[in-house]
């Protein structure tokens, strides 16, 4: 077969977010691979400069849905450093607790997505079912399932009650048991191993050279974890081990993530045990004195860095965000060398890409909007009913009945 170039994205079932990959294929084999990022730009860095610090906490939280706590924590850490705020211990512990719960939910989500990418939908359904446990815990602790909104400058917004601690421990026990089961599945189910091992090889040298972060790097033997190397929040007081692996492939990345899940459960138990009493936040000034700070946070996907520069007003002078995916995306081309098209989804998924994080910058405003004809929902609805009626299908009576039923 001659060489064909197929587009994967910007809209494609393998990608949960719009991003464009051009793949040149010779038969089933990938010969060339190109990435075009930037489809998800929302102008967040610029928007941060136009909002107050307290508004920015929620804005940075919305850089990414899955690692929302990672971004807001990194941001408030930088601001707290500039303002010289000493956050109370209990606040730091709660921040760490939410961070670890978030890692659990993110890694379980990843496992499900990976299952889906290799056509193993049962794994997807099971992991996402179990992920509900941690999502419910989040809703219980913070008041929302995704954008937790627990961080504020100077601490956290909600305390953890003894009843909640009991709930968390119960949830963690259940999750630990399930995770053990998934480790067993991942390391013994033939079809899973066949699809994962030897796929997306990234050697230790390449990973170092291209700057892979997080589980992607750790599965290539890079022993680097911000939580240990540059402790923030309460990580300095908690014992944990950094999970690394030398498989260098997708299988290794799966094992690293599953291993990190087990570590996270241990850490959550420690946090709950060691959590001191006291206030959870101190009051932060509205105006932050001039200064700059560089904050690092180990998000579930890898190292997430924020740089904040303050100029003494209520609004920051500059906020710079580097999400882990941007550091990892460049390794994908290396991983896909001489692989098959069928490996592409899982290799891309294996870095746990989050393109919303990656592209956060500029509001892409369509300069031609004045010409576009925007159809409102009602118009579309009416049009479809009309179209069907013309073709002899009329559901209006049935619809009325159904509506009656719903009421």
């Amino acid at each position: 077969m001659h060489k064909v170039i197929i587009p994967i994205g910007p809209q494609h079932p393998a990608l949960k977010e719009p991003e464009s990959f051009m793949v040149a294929l010779s038969g089933e084999k990938i010969t060339e691979f190109g990435v075009r990022l930037g489809y998800n730009h929302r102008g967040i860095e610029k928007a941060c400069e136009e909002r107050t610090y307290i508004q920015d906490v929620y804005l940075t939280e919305r850089i990414c849905g899955i690692c929302s706590h990672a971004h807001s924590s990194a941001f408030v850490q930088a601001v707290e450093e500039i303002a010289g705020l000493a956050v109370p211990k209990r606040g730091l512990y709660i921040r760490t607790l939410i961070g670890e719960l978030e890692r659990v939910h993110s890694h379980l989500l990843w496992l499900g997505v990976a299952g889906h990418e290799i056509g193993f939908d049962t794994l997807l359904m099971y992991t996402w079912r179990d992920r509900e446990i941690v999502m419910d815990l989040m809703a219980l602790l913070t008041g929302n399932r995704v954008n937790y909104g627990i961080n504020t400058i100077g601490g956290v917004r909600r305390d953890v009650s003894p009843e909640q601690i009991k709930e968390i421990l119960k949830g963690v026990d259940a999750l630990e048991e399930r995770t053990k089961y998934y480790i067993e599945i991942a390391s013994s189910e033939t079809t899973v191993i066949e699809r994962l091992s030897g796929v997306g090889i990234l050697s230790h040298e390449d990973a170092l050279r291209l700057g892979a972060v997080g589980p992607t790097g750790r599965a290539s033997g890079i022993d680097r974890d911000t939580r240990r190397d540059d402790p923030y929040a309460a990580y300095g007081e908690i014992e944990f081990k950094v999970v690394t692996d030398n498989h260098n492939d997708v299988y290794g990345r799966t094992l690293v993530r599953l291993g990190e899940l087990m570590e996270s459960y241990k850490m959550i138990r420690q946090i709950l045990k060691k959590m001191p009493d006291g206030p959870i936040a101190i009051k932060a000034p509205r105006k932050i004195p001039p200064g700059e700070a560089f904050s690092r946070y180990e998000a579930p996907r890898g190292e997430n860095v924020h740089y904040v520069k303050a100029n003494g007003t209520e609004k920051p002078e500059r906020v710079k965000v580097r999400a882990p995916t941007l550091a990892n995306i460049q390794t994908v081309a290396k991983m896909l060398e001489d692989r098959q098209l069928a490996d592409l989804p899982i290799v891309i998924a294996a870095i746990d890409p989050c393109f919303s994080c990656t592209d956060r910058l500029i509001a892409v405003k369509d300069l031609e909007t004045n010409k576009t004809n925007t159809l409102k929902w009602q118009d579309l609805h009416a049009y479809s009913i009309e179209w069907h009626r013309e073709h002899g299908v009329d559901f209006s009576q049935l619809n009325k009945k159904l509506k009656g039923m719903l009421k």
Partner: protein, 313 residues
């Protein structure tokens, strides 16, 4: 004449097949959902899907060959529905039978795959074409073990007619037990024929969107869907007739019930199988079929030949 029209259009022809096909699809989806600990769709979901598709606009890509594009779904449905007439459902006789109808049924069951190929190829979309090529590649992998395992049963019964095979297995009631390896092979290859996990490579959603069917919409897609449902029924009935030929002398009503149970249990086994595996890559699938299934099918052939030499004189 009228009776034949009734056979073709109503029972056991198109109407019965479509209804049973939709019912089996529901059964499959519901079971699949329950295996995954989900609630699953309501009973009318496949029908509602079909009605929705029929109500939608047919969009034919500019580059596609419109005649081939439109013809292929109809071909697929016709071929599978025709195959059904040669399979004895209950009792010993199919509606039409002659010596050699096994081959005709197998041939007719290959046609849908060919239509997937042609339909995808003439869509001129890259995803469709890759899917089309994959479905053809896959065909060469699973077809041989499937044919050989069915050939083994035919050898044992010493006939090329499905109805006569039914007669043979009624006379020698427990002989079907010797074909269990063949049944296992046939079940696995049927997954490939129906393009289900782990062999759903031609329509692997995360790689090539929907493969062959990427460009299909509306009525044409609806017909394809029905054709696939019917193919599942026909494939399952063929397996039931060839590998599970018992209870054929029962009263017609009971026999019909038994037939439904046989087909649904085969569908259920397929559902379970597609729940517990990940999708294979096309090269892995080829290796699996040629390295494991084909030798096993040979073993089955050997067993049949030995049995024939030793037991039946």
């Amino acid at each position: 004449m009228l009776a034949q029209l009734f056979y073709i259009l109503i029972f056991p022809g198109l109407l019965f097949l479509s209804v049973f096909g939709l019912a089996a699809e529901f059964f499959d989806r519901k079971l699949y959902a329950r295996l995954q600990n989900r609630v699953g769709p309501p009973w009318f979901q496949p029908l509602a899907d079909f009605i929705k598709l029929v109500g939608k606009e047919d969009i034919i890509p500019d580059d596609a060959n419109p005649n081939m594009f439109k013809l292929m779904p109809i071909f697929a449905l016709t071929a599978t529905a025709t195959a059904f007439f040669y399979i004895p459902l209950w009792g010993m006789n199919a509606y039409f039978h002659f010596n050699g109808d096994v081959i005709v049924v197998l041939y007719l069951l290959t046609i849908p795959t060919l239509t997937f190929f042609l339909g995808g190829w003439y869509s001129r979309s890259l995803y469709s074409q890759i899917g089309a090529v994959r479905s053809l590649t896959q065909l060469f992998a699973y077809e041989v073990p499937l044919f050989m395992s069915i050939l083994a049963t035919a050898l044992l019964a010493d006939t090329w007619s499905l109805s006569e095979m039914a007669l043979f297995y009624t006379v020698h009631p427990w002989y079907w037990v010797f074909n269990l390896i063949g049944l296992a092979i046939a079940l696995i290859t049927l997954l490939g024929k129906l393009e289900k996990v782990p062999f759903d490579i031609p329509e692997a959603e995360t790689e090539i969107v929907a493969g062959t069917f990427t460009e299909y919409s509306g009525r044409l897609f609806g017909i394809f869907k029905i054709a696939i449902d019917v193919e599942a029924i026909v494939g399952a009935s063929l397996l039931a007739a060839v590998f599970l030929p018992f209870g054929l002398t029962l009263h017609p009503a009971l026999g019909f019930l038994l037939f439904i149970i046989k087909v649904l249990s085969i569908v259920a086994v397929l559902s379970v199988l597609r729940t517990i595996f990940a999708r294979l890559r096309i090269d892995q699938m080829m290796i699996f079929c040629w390295k494991y299934l084909a030798p096993l099918a040979f073993l089955q052939l050997l067993i049949s030949l030995i049995l024939k030499g030793v037991l039946i004189r």
